[in-house]
Symmetry: C2
Subunit: 353 residues, 2 copies
Amino acid sequence: MPVGTQATVKSITADELQSLEARIILCNAYHLHLRPGERTIAELGGLQRFMGYPGLVLTDSGGYQVFSLQGNVKIDEAGALFRSHIDGTERQFTPENVIELQEALGSDIIMPLDQPVGADATPAEAAQATARSDRWAARARERHLRQDGRRDQALFGIVQGGFSADLRAQSAQRVVEIGFDGYAIGGLSVGEPKQVMADMLACTAPLLPPDRPRYLMGVGTPYDLVASVALGVDMFDCVLPTRLARNNAAYTSTGRKSIRNAVYSGSSAPLDEACDCPTCMKYPVAYLRHLAMAKEMLAARLLTYHNLRFYLRLMERVRQAIREGTLPALIEEMAALYAHEGAAGKGEETARW
Amino acid sequence: MPVGTQATVKSITADELQSLEARIILCNAYHLHLRPGERTIAELGGLQRFMGYPGLVLTDSGGYQVFSLQGNVKIDEAGALFRSHIDGTERQFTPENVIELQEALGSDIIMPLDQPVGADATPAEAAQATARSDRWAARARERHLRQDGRRDQALFGIVQGGFSADLRAQSAQRVVEIGFDGYAIGGLSVGEPKQVMADMLACTAPLLPPDRPRYLMGVGTPYDLVASVALGVDMFDCVLPTRLARNNAAYTSTGRKSIRNAVYSGSSAPLDEACDCPTCMKYPVAYLRHLAMAKEMLAARLLTYHNLRFYLRLMERVRQAIREGTLPALIEEMAALYAHEGAAGKGEETARW
C-alpha cells in the first residue's frame, strides 16, 4: 500500500494511482481527524470520493502518531488524551471513537487503536501495554458490530507483544479469539535489529488464520517485503518508496541509486533500463539529476512515481513467483540488491535475515 | 508560453505540456548556463530532448537575471561580468557568447542580450542603455549569421526605450533595420503604472513589421493579455499562472480564487464549473483546499495544471475571437474579472487600460 497520510500520496494524482495499479492505499485517521476532519470528508462522500480515487483505502488509527506526541499524551484504560499538533486543541482517542472516526471517513479497512510497546520497554511494561491493546481490540470490535453501524467496512486486529515471543503468542491468540477480518502485526521495524524483527515475525505469522490477510505494518525495504512474504505476510505499507523519492533516491533493478550522484550528470540512459514507468521511458537520467540539483519539485514527482512502480511491480513479481514456485530466487535477487539496507548498525552489517 | 526557467515548468511533466497543447515554452539561458551547463544539454541532444518535450523552446538570454544581481555585475560595452548565484564563480555574458550559449542549448527562438532600463533611470541613462542594447542587437545578429552557425534557430530582436515614446520609437526603428525573425517588446511590466505600460505598447507595437511575431515579455494578467492582443501582440510569457498556483491561487471563469478560503472547506463543486482540466473534472474544491492547507505538493501541481489550462484556453479564445470579430467582448469579459489585478497601487484602483 502506497502511503497517503493526509489523503494524498505525496505528489501523485488519483489517476496515476490507477495507472500504477495501486488497488489499495493507506491514509491516517489521526491526521484526517485533525484536518480536514471526518465530518467534512463524510459529507463529501467519503475518502475515496474526496481523493477522486476509486480503489480501496485502509486507514491506520493514528495511535502510533498519538503515542509519539511525547509529553503531550495521557494514557489510561479509557484511551488517550492528547493535543493536536496543528492547533494545540485537546482531543481524546478511545477504542470506540477511533472506530467511529474511520467509519465516518469511509475506510474500506479500519485499524483499531492500540498502545504501542516502546522500543526500550521493560518486560512488565510490554506485557501491560499488550494486554491493554488486546482489551481495546475487543472494545473496538464491539463498537464496530453495533446495530446501527455500517457492514461494508472491514476491521483488522493488531498483534502486539513487543520483542517477546511469549507475549506475541498471547496477543495473537487473544486477537484471533476476538475475531477480525484480517490481522496486522504491529510494533515491528521500529529500530530493532532485523534479526529480532524476523524472529518475531516467524513466531507470530503462523499463529494467524491462513484464510485471512496478514498485514505487516510499516515494512519495509524490497528485501524485507519478499522475505516477509515467505513467512506468510500478504500486505504491507511503507513510506520508503515515496519518502526516499523526495530525498532523490531511486529503487532500481540494479540497486538503489542516489540521483544527485555526479556520475549521472551527462547520462542519456534511463534511470532503470528494466523499468516501464514514464519516468524511465521518457527522461534521460541526466535530466532527473538536473531537477534534483535544482531542487525542482518535478524531481520528487518523477522519482515517486518510479519508486511506487518498482514496489508495486515487485509485489506483482512476488505473486507470480508464488504461483511458479520461484520465490526463493526472488528473495536471493532482492537480498543481493537490497539486504544491506535498513541494517540497524552497531555491528549489524547486513539486514539480511 | 508557460515559463520553465530551469528546463521544467514547475511540477508539470512533458506529457502534460503536450496534453495542455502548450506548443512553445520559455526557458532561461542564464539559469541553464549555470546548471547543468549548455555543454551537458548539447551533448544530450538539446533542451527539447533533455526535457522530453517535443514542442518549441524559446530561451530568454537571462540578461534580466544578470542585471538583477545587484552589486555583483559590471557592465561595459563588451558585455556583463557577474558572479554565479549558485557557486560564486565569475562569468561573462557578451552579445556574442549569449547567442552561442542558446545555439548550444538548441533553442528554437533565441533572445539577444540587452541592457534593461531601470525603473528609476534618468532620461539620459535610459537613452544610453537603449542605445547599447541596440548595438548589442546588431552584434548578436552578426554572430548568429556567422558562416558555421546553425540556420534552424530563429533570433528575435528586443525593443527597449524605457518609458519614453521617443526612445521606444528610435529603438524600434534600429532593431527593425537590423532585421530579426520576430520582435520582442522588453522593459515593460516592471512596476510602472498599467497606463504607462499601455501607452508604451500602443506607440511601439505599430512600428513592428506586421508579418513577424510580436512578443511582449513578462506580461501578464488575463486582462493584460487580451488587451495587448488588441494592440497587435502575438506572444507572451508570464510566471503568473504557475507562480500563483504555488501560492494557492486559481484563475477561473468567475475570477481569481484563493483556494485556502474557508468557503471552500465543504464544497463538492469543482474549482471551475466551466473548466475541462483534470483538476476540475476530478476533484472537489474541498479536496484542493485540504491539500493547500496541509501544504501538500499535489496542491501546487493540480493548480498549476489548471492555471495553465486557463491561460492556454484564453489564448485559444483570443484566436477564435479574432477570427469571429468578437475580441472587444472578450476584452470586456476579462476586464470585468481581472482588470483589478496588477494595479500598481498609489491611487491606481484598476489595472484597466
